[in-house]
Amino acid sequence: MSSERPSQLFRNKSAKIAAIPMIVTALFVFVGGTAWTIVYSFTKSGLLPRLRWVGLDQYERLWSTNRWLVSIENLIIYGLCMLVLVFVIGFILAALIDQKIRFENTIRTVILYPYALSFVVTGLVWQWILNPEFGIESIIQAWGWDSFAFDPLYNADIAIFGVLIAGLWQGSGLVMVLMLAGLRGIDQEVWKAARVDGIPAWKTYIFIVIPMMRPVFITTLVLVVTGIVKIYDLIVAQTGGGPGISTEVPAKYVYDMMFQANNLGQGFAASTMMLLTVALVVIPWAILEFGGSKNRG
């Protein structure tokens, strides 16, 4: 036996060996791919990537393109509304189901069901539901309310809210399930203590239970935000970006530029901007959340 302390590098060898494939994949595919994309966003690549430098030309063109600006605006509207509403709806549903109701499993499954459908199916379903010819509007008109009009997908000003409805329908169930798991993790004695203290239920939720559910909220936030930023298939299936360009989103712009308009450089520039936006949000948060962890233990 050696009396020296063994090198830290060679401890837990099998675990480290097992992790190597994933580390390599992460490095090459994610980090490498990202770097490659950023580099080529400064080139004049068309159908194929070519290293012909054009400096910031692609970015200037991007930010002077109306379609990109509309995409960003749509993402902000959709994102903010989705974030707020999906949390509110999901939490309220979870709080209601947490009241020891009957048929809890059935109701939970029904509400979670939309999440099991792909965005393409969701988009198509809601395209039909919102279609004036055979959706809600036609049903209510058939009941006799002739002047009733509800066709968000055919009005460029509010079309993005039609997409929002579909997004909420699909996403609320997941948030509800996560929140329900969080609520179930709260010690029942805390509820009892709050009742003895005379604190009304809504105050108990806001000041005691929700702060206790912080880890669940963060997990849910990450899932919801990544879902918002990468939204693509729902738009393609439900509106195709229309009417006009009123429901365009950044991810669709990237795809269209790269594979439809044969303008890889422009697509790379747009995706780099998306990465930058996400990084601007995530990095400060990560520093706040994990930065001091060594000091706090």
Binding site: E189, V190, K192, R195, V196, G198, P200, I208
Partner: protein
């Protein structure tokens, strides 16, 4: 009206399951009552009913002369301490103590005064600005007691408050709760499954089983004159020795041994006949020089020894059954020794074999 809490004909059912059945209990002002029983006996359920956290099926609960059967927990004039402390983790200790008071819209200086008093009593003043995560288990439970204290109520309910603590802390906090009761003279109802806590803290103990109170009495009564075989076996550690035999007049016969019961205080005044169980606590079996004074004596062989420092528990065979007796820790015994033991019938308990009630 001198009773602080009165429970009248209380029933509680969950569907077809009867958890509490026709339960009556009167708790005097300033009394420390312990509800003791093994898990599932309904003791915590009863406490939750008193607190108003469970709706009763039938019966009434009166606190300080008011019928509070259907009142909200916060309106009953109670404070409650829970096993898991149930502190609000995102608030400081001060926030935990003040949250309920702020919510009740008490004036700020009143809140501050109450927190100051509670913090002094419980010696948690240095902790007021900390969060529960930065406190030890004992400190957390003090804060939880403080949260009941600031409510300025007459009745304190404790739901197994020490069960999450390690043995040493439990003993320390037990003494503090007793001191707290001596100083405040509030009514306290305390649920536990730990007989040591029950014996040391209680003015009266209610032993519960199957949703009923088996025996209600002072720790002395419960220990010395258990009303039935269950209570006798439940209280005391190591538990009581039971000898199955036959009672004829003043003599208890078990196997080929007959033990004279002269001096035993029969519950119904006179001696009884029939199949019976004799219960003798291991600590009431005498050995050594004292044996000479005992009305009944026998020789036994030592099978097993459990030294505990202050005393030694000895296992042996007596009258065809396993028999345990407690000796002084200084006594020198080894396995295989023959020792002479003495029994005093006046300290024993006799139970009917069928009804298991005290004779």
């Amino acid at each position: 009206m001198n009773n602080s809490v009165e429970i009248k004909n209380l029933d509680l059912e969950f569907g077809a399951v009867k958890v509490l059945q026709n339960l009556n209990l009167e708790i005097g002002k300033g009394e420390f009552l312990v509800l003791l029983g093994s898990s599932g006996c309904g003791k915590s359920t009863l406490l939750n009913c008193i607190a108003g956290l469970l709706d009763v099926t039938a019966g009434q609960i009166h606190i300080k002369g008011n019928n509070v059967t259907w009142a909200e927990p916060s309106e009953r004039g109670i404070g409650m301490v829970f096993q898991s402390y149930a502190l609000y983790p995102q608030m400081t200790v001060e926030g935990n103590l003040s949250f309920g008071l702020k919510n009740a819209k008490l004036p700020k200086d009143e809140i501050a005064a109450r927190i100051k008093r509670a913090a002094e009593i419980l010696q948690i003043e240095p902790l007021l600005k900390r969060k529960p995560a930065a406190l030890s288990g004992g400190q957390r439970q003090r804060v939880a007691i403080g949260r009941a204290l600031v409510r300025d109520v007459d009745v304190f309910l404790f739901d197994e408050p020490l069960s999450n603590l390690d043995a040493k802390l439990r003993a320390d906090l037990r003494v503090e709760i007793k001191r707290l009761h001596q100083n405040l003279q509030n009514t306290m109802i305390y649920v536990t499954h730990d007989q040591i806590e029950a014996m040391t803290l209680a003015d009266r103990i209610a032993i519960m089983r199957g949703g009923k109170i088996m025996q209600l009495g002072s720790p002395d009564e419960i220990y010395g004159r258990p009303i039935n075989k269950y209570v006798a076996g439940f209280i005391g550690s190591p538990s009581m020795n039971f000898l199955e035999g036959h009672l004829t007049g003043d003599t208890f016969e078990v196997g080929d041994v007959s033990i004279p019961m002269a001096g035993y205080d029969f519950a119904n005044g006179g001696a009884a006949n029939g199949a019976a169980t004799l219960g003798i606590r291991p600590e009431h079996v005498v050995t050594g020089e004292l044996v000479g004074n005992a009305p009944f004596q026998a020789d036994v062989t030592v099978d097993l020894i459990e030294p505990m420092g202050s005393d030694t528990v000895v296992d042996c065979q007596f009258a065809g059954a396993r028999f345990r007796l407690r000796m002084d820790g200084q006594a020198r015994v080894t396995v295989g020794d023959t020792i002479r033991l003495g029994l005093d019938p006046s300290r024993a308990s006799l139970f009917d074999k069928d009804t298991e009630l005290r004779l």
